[in-house]
């Protein structure tokens, strides 16, 4: 059965400046939805609004049912913000237990973590922490996962593995991802939206990215 996450009627202003005004975004299970946009266009704000960690006028629905605070529904949505969010003192063992994850599977994908099961996440490098956070949100049981800049701060090899991991996981849930490394996004996404002047534009071809002033191809 396909599940749908939709967001629209979002109005966000900062000091009289309109950030988001005419947004429509749809994410389906079994698909990767990419979100692109220049800095300050409100990509992270949009994700926070959908998650419920930023308050504003909105309509967020899962399977046509209104959801006011998805952060209280980890069975529906998990969210990886662009900063480190796992308390540094927590061990990988506790994190994996909290997110109902299998460390062996993680180890198969990332053998560099062998023997780190009982290590505190704070003892890992920045990229190492990011991978643990990314994996936790991505693989934890839920209908949808939102990832804010999943490829940033990763080495090229790690980014390639994350790309494969995303493709593997899209069979289990709907993914909404945003990153400035847009070739990764366009390479794996089934749908791509560009956020420009507070509006979402569903792109039909890669040329639209250039037309909307996001990047030169």
């Amino acid at each position: 059965m396909t599940h749908i996450l939709e967001a629209d009627s979002i109005h966000l202003e900062f000091k009289g400046r309109k950030i988001l005004s005419s947004v429509y975004l749809k994410c389906e299970t079994g698909k990767i939805t990419g979100l692109l946009g220049r800095n300050g266009q409100g990509k992270s704000c949009l994700m926070n609004i959908i998650f419920g960690s930023m308050a504003c006028e909105k309509s967020v629905r899962v399977d046509h049912r209104a959801q006011y605070a998805l952060l209280k529904r980890p069975d529906l949505l998990r969210f990886q913000p662009q900063f480190h969010f796992i308390p540094r003192s927590l061990s990988l063992k506790i994190i994996f237990r909290d997110f109902h994850l299998d460390f062996d599977h993680f180890e198969k994908w990332f053998p560099e973590y062998t023997g780190r099961y009982k290590s505190a996440v704070g003892t890992l490098s920045g990229g190492g922490q990011k991978l643990v956070e990314l994996y936790s949100v991505l693989k934890a049981p839920a209908l949808f996962a939102m990832l804010d800049e999943p490829f940033t701060h990763l080495s090229p090899l790690q980014a390639e593995k994350v790309k494969d991991l995303l493709l593997e996981e899209k069979g289990n849930k709907g993914l909404l991802i945003t990153d400035h490394l847009f070739r990764y996004i366009t390479g794996i996404s089934d749908l791509v939206y560009v956020l420009d002047n507070g509006r979402t534009h569903l792109i039909k071809s890669l040329d639209d990215i250039e037309t909307l002033g996001y990047a030169n191809l």
Binding site: L71, R78, F85, I86, F99
Partner: protein, 107 residues
């Protein structure tokens, strides 16, 4: 029953992880209040009560600011800010009242 106990244990552990950020300072404040109560008795109780309330609000303000990124860990587990702070405040205040009561009993 086993499942309920495991859920309860897990919830307490998660709350404790967050509470650890300021448990030392908060308990130290309660301890100071206890010592002052032992010294001066009921005449200072109202003052100590408000001191505890105000310092708790200051701690809340700073933790809310410096640990705001960690909230997302708890959000991802379905624990909102209210569900995180409420039991911690209740426990911390109960500890304060318990310490004052003990001071009163042993005075």
């Amino acid at each position: 029953m086993e499942k309920l106990r495991a859920t309860l244990f897990r919830t307490i552990r998660r709350l404790w992880t967050f509470y650890k950020n300021f448990v030392f300072l908060s308990t130290l404040i309660s301890l100071c209040c206890m010592v002052l109560f032992l010294e001066y008795g009921f005449s200072v109780f109202i003052g100590l009560f408000w001191f505890k309330v105000i310092t708790s609000l200051i701690i809340f303000y700073f933790v809310n600011y410096y640990k705001r990124q960690e909230y997302y860990y708890y959000f991802n587990l379905g624990i909102s800010k209210t569900r995180l702070w409420s039991p911690i405040f209740i426990f911390d205040f109960s500890l304060f009242i318990l310490m004052i009561t003990l001071a009163h009993l042993f005075k």
